[in-house]
């Protein structure tokens, strides 16, 4: 192919050397090339319909639950106060779910989130920590919870990435030992939060909205930006989608994996603080089975359990579905067993719906 075309350069100067190294192989191809050109313009609409399609099933499910709530509980469900209750209920699971979305999209899983929450809440509310907080500032408790959560995540991440332990097993081990450690530290006693500054700040409202809900909102928005608009989010998709290709493209896959677990660990630390605020206690029983609620919310949200695809919006809706559901059950005086059955059904139905819609939106 010696017939190099010389067309006036429209590319950047660094490309000039290889500009049009390839002569078009035949005319029909050139026509095809031109015909494919306008595609860029329809991209926005295509993406919208894709994301819309994926989240439609979820929104429908949420609406169905709301309708059931209105019909069965009337004004007791459809009130501002009750909405706030639902959001407050959602906030702790929500914060951890955002972190979990990153881990699962990056090809991992973290079963230890509930245990890390318990350990962080206990550590941040020990006699020693609280005494120190009273002597200095209540931020000591915040720092402690985040540090403990982050450190647990670091241990998970390092042993998974560099010790080559399967995430399921490593975090299962962390699940057992973190909760055990929380029991040892607290001597299985509930620790009352007595630092006034902490209680005042964390139980405050911001413009009538409880701080817990505000935190959930901030973490969601921040998580969305991190996921969709940053190199970190993009690398997470690459690492989860094809770790080998990501590695050969020059991404430090191991380091990224560690960061993912640290991120979810920090979310757990934050969730521990939210437990301390909501219950005024630190306890080794906080966050029991939290991991199941979190993973369920992430997965029905549309994040692929095998990695490489995830959605923060879907996760948030997934969290809201579960908290609205349990709110409706509580308002109707149903026990938690019925609720658990309904939860299972919701997971299956939502995932089935979602698969159908996703298939339709990817094939068109």
């Amino acid at each position: 192919m010696s017939e190099h075309r010389t067309t006036p350069g429209t590319d950047g100067p660094d490309l000039a050397a290889v500009e049009n190294p390839v002569a078009p192989s035949n005319d029909s191809v050139r026509v095809e090339h031109a015909a494919a050109e306008p595609e860029g313009t329809s991209r926005g609409a295509g993406l919208m319909s894709g994301a819309f399609g994926r989240n439609l099933g979820l929104v429908l499910a949420l609406l169905v639950i709301c309708v059931v709530g209105v019909v069965t509980a009337g004004d007791r469900f459809a009130s501002v106060d009750n909405m706030v209750t639902i959001l407050r209920l959602a906030s702790i699971v929500g914060v951890v779910s955002i972190g979990m979305t990153f881990v699962i999209t990056g090809g991992g899983i973290d079963l230890s989130v509930g245990a890390i929450v318990a350990l962080s809440s206990v550590w941040a509310s020990t006699f020693a920590t609280q005494t120190m907080a009273e002597d200095t500032h209540w931020l000591v408790m915040v720092f402690t919870a985040l540090a403990v959560g982050g450190a647990c995540g670091l241990v998970n991440g390092v042993l998974i990435a560099y010790g080559n332990i399967v995430p399921f097993i490593m975090t299962l081990a962390m699940l057992a030992s973190a909760r055990g450690l929380a029991e040892i530290i607290s001597e299985r006693r509930t620790q009352i939060v007595r630092v006034e500054g902490f209680k005042d700040f964390w139980s405050a409202d911001v413009l009538g909205v409880p701080l817990l809900v505000v935190i959930f909102a901030l973490v969601s928005v921040g998580g969305w930006f991190l996921f969709n608009r940053t190199t970190f989010g993009r690398r997470t998709l690459a690492v989860g989608g094809n770790p080998e290709a990501a590695r050969l493209a020059g991404i430090n896959v191991k380091r990224h994996t560690v960061l993912l677990y640290v991120l979810v660990g920090l979310c757990c630390g934050l969730a521990a603080l939210m437990y301390l605020a909501r219950t005024s206690t630190g306890s080794s029983t906080h966050g029991t089975l939290l991991e199941l609620d979190v993973i369920a919310a992430v997965v029905i949200g549309g994040t692929l359990l095998t990695g490489g695809r995830g959605t923060i919006v879907g996760t948030v809706i997934g969290v809201l579905i579960f908290s609205t559901l349990s709110n409706v059950f509580v308002l109707n005086n149903q026990d938690s067993s019925t609720q658990a059955v309904a939860k299972g059904l919701i997971i299956v139905v939502a995932v089935l719906l979602q698969q159908r819609l996703a298939r339709r939106s990817t094939t068109t």
């Binding site: 390839v22 035949n26 190199t231 695809r309 068109t364």
Partner: protein, 507 residues
């Protein structure tokens, strides 16, 4: 080779149409295959060969057209129904279970059992017989399939096909993972099968193979049959290429530039590199603008040398220098930072994020450049990716398309675009044209040469000697982990290279 023009066809496909949303994959394909013949299916990537064999194996349902088996119309609603007729397909991506043994894989789905208990002894003996019949008695039936070489795995797939009463065997590019000796063995097996009356549908990009093994040829282009039932012996290669492409050239290598200045400091300097147990004592100097080719058999250590230079494997000894600066061992990020780029051998599993858009695949190694405080400017990303992919003529254009939907040649261009965007100084290409059709090959060659002319140092590894000799300025021949020859490409020919790589392996 037994052409039996009078025999009634075993299989006939008439007017097969298959539509995918927005794409007409097959627009009326005819194919007839006779018992005991090797029927070659030719066509460029995207011509519809893969879709056609998926219709044949009933993985896809055709929208129009009919399939006749021994003259009677048959419905093929499920892959099992095709299997029951005796149609076996061996796909490019082998569908074996890596954790099971060879024998278990061969009899998967039709296990030898009595009363629900599997009979391991009988299974292993039957598997050993099948493997012996395929000329590979050395593969142990109890071995785990995941531990076998790709070539041996393919033999296991063939044995699996034979373990069922196969009357039509479809082979999708079987030679892609094989070296010359293994290809010869494959051909021997195919001849044995056809002698027993089995019909074979053989798909390959390599025309010389079709000459050796084929009886008749059907050519597809753009989802349509452009010629069917051509006798291999009577159809000149030039005609076939014209049918496939509308052009009349096979391999077209771009002209080498003026003599490359190789006296100054090399861009890439590898000294005494060793990967314990695989290769040792490899020295390699590549200057700006130079293309160096590595030739050798599969398993001679060629790919491993590239991957070790790139830091994807940790060298046990030796150094890699780029522009005089030594690279940290076993660190890909360090290599990329120093200006190295790799287009890996397994494009799909090692090179690409198949379910992500073209632009994301292009910018994955340059993300930092589009970020402010970690936040990406995806408009800028798309713009730069569009510039680079257009300069490489990736078709169809449009950087938001999923890479999965592109043909092999265009996927390879996406990988090249990644490193072009990074302005890398050293480009390592491992089997750059594997699974790439004839027309697109020439384009890839031209791109590589143009990159070299712009000052990039290029190292090419290929199983196809012709490709190494045609593309490279200088050639290194690797045998059993050692460089046994080094010299200008124009001073050595294919038979000499083959001599060098085979030498000693015959003993």
């Amino acid at each position: 080779m037994t052409t039996q023009p009078t025999t009634a066809p075993l299989l006939e496909m008439r007017g097969i149409v298959k539509r995918f949303p927005g794409v007409l994959a097959l627009g009326g394909v005819d194919l007839d295959v006779r018992p005991g013949e090797v029927h070659c299916l030719l066509g460029q990537n995207g011509a519809g060969k893969s879709t056609l064999i998926k219709v044949l194996s009933a993985s896809y349902q055709p929208d129009e057209g009919e399939v006749l088996w021994e003259g009677r119309p048959v419905a093929l609603p499920t892959p099992q129904s095709a299997m029951r007729l005796g149609i076996s397909t061996i796909y490019q991506e082998l569908d074996l279970v890596p954790g099971l043994s060879v024998a278990e894989n061969i009899f998967l789905g039709h296990e030898l059992s009595s009363g629900g208990m599997s009979q391991r002894g009988r299974t292993n003996r039957a598997a050993a017989d099948l493997l012996a019949r395929l000329g590979h008695g050395e593969i142990s039936p109890t071995r785990e399939v995941g531990r076998l070489t790709p070539a041996a795995q393919q033999i296991v797939s063939m044995a699996r096909a034979l373990s069922q009463d196969t009357r039509l065997l479809v082979l999708d590019e079987p030679s892609a993972v094989l070296d010359q000796g293994e290809v010869d063995n494959l051909f021997r097996v195919i001849r044995d099968l056809t002698a027993e009356g089995v019909a074979v549908v053989y798909i390959s990009h390599r025309l010389e193979e079709i000459r050796q093994i084929g009886d008749r040829i059907t050519v597809l282009k753009d989802g349509r049959t452009v010629a069917t039932g051509l006798a291999v012996a009577e159809t000149p290669t030039a005609d076939l290429i014209t049918l496939m492409t509308g052009r009349s050239i096979e391999y077209v290598f771009p002209p080498r530039g003026d003599a490359v200045v190789t006296t100054g400091e090399p861009v890439l300097e590898v000294s005494d590199l060793e990967l314990a147990g695989v290769f040792s004592g490899v020295d390699l100097r590549v200057h700006a603008g130079e293309i160096v080719g590595l030739a050798g058999l599969v398993g001679a250590g060629r790919s491993e040398i590239l991957e070790t230079v790139y830091g994807a494997r940790r060298a046990s000894a030796g150094t890699v220098r780029v522009n005089g600066r030594e690279l940290r061992r076993g660190s890909v990020p360090a290599a990329v930072k120093a200006g190295l780029g790799l287009a890996p051998e397994e494009r799909k599993s090692q090179g690409l994020l198949l379910d992500q858009a073209v632009y994301r695949n292009v910018t994955v190694s340059t993300l930092g450049r589009f970020a402010r405080l970690g936040f990406l400017d995806s408009g800028d990303e798309r713009r730069r990716a569009a510039e680079v992919t257009q300069s490489l003529d990736v078709r169809p254009a449009g950087v938001d398309r999923l890479v999965r939907l592109l043909s092999g040649g265009n996927q390879q261009k996406v990988v090249l675009a990644r490193w072009l965007l990074r302005e890398c100084r050293v480009l390592l290409l491992d089997e750059p044209t594997r699974g790439v059709d004839v027309g697109a090959r020439a384009e890839i060659y031209a791109v590589v040469r143009a990159l070299a002319d712009s000052g990039v140092a290029v190292v090419v590894v290929s199983s196809e000697v012709e490709e190494v000799l045609g593309l490279a300025d200088r050639v290194l021949v690797v045998r059993e982990g050692r460089v046994v020859h080094e010299g200008p490409a124009h001073e050595i020919d294919e038979s000499r290279v083959l001599d060098l790589v085979m030498e000693g392996s015959a003993a």
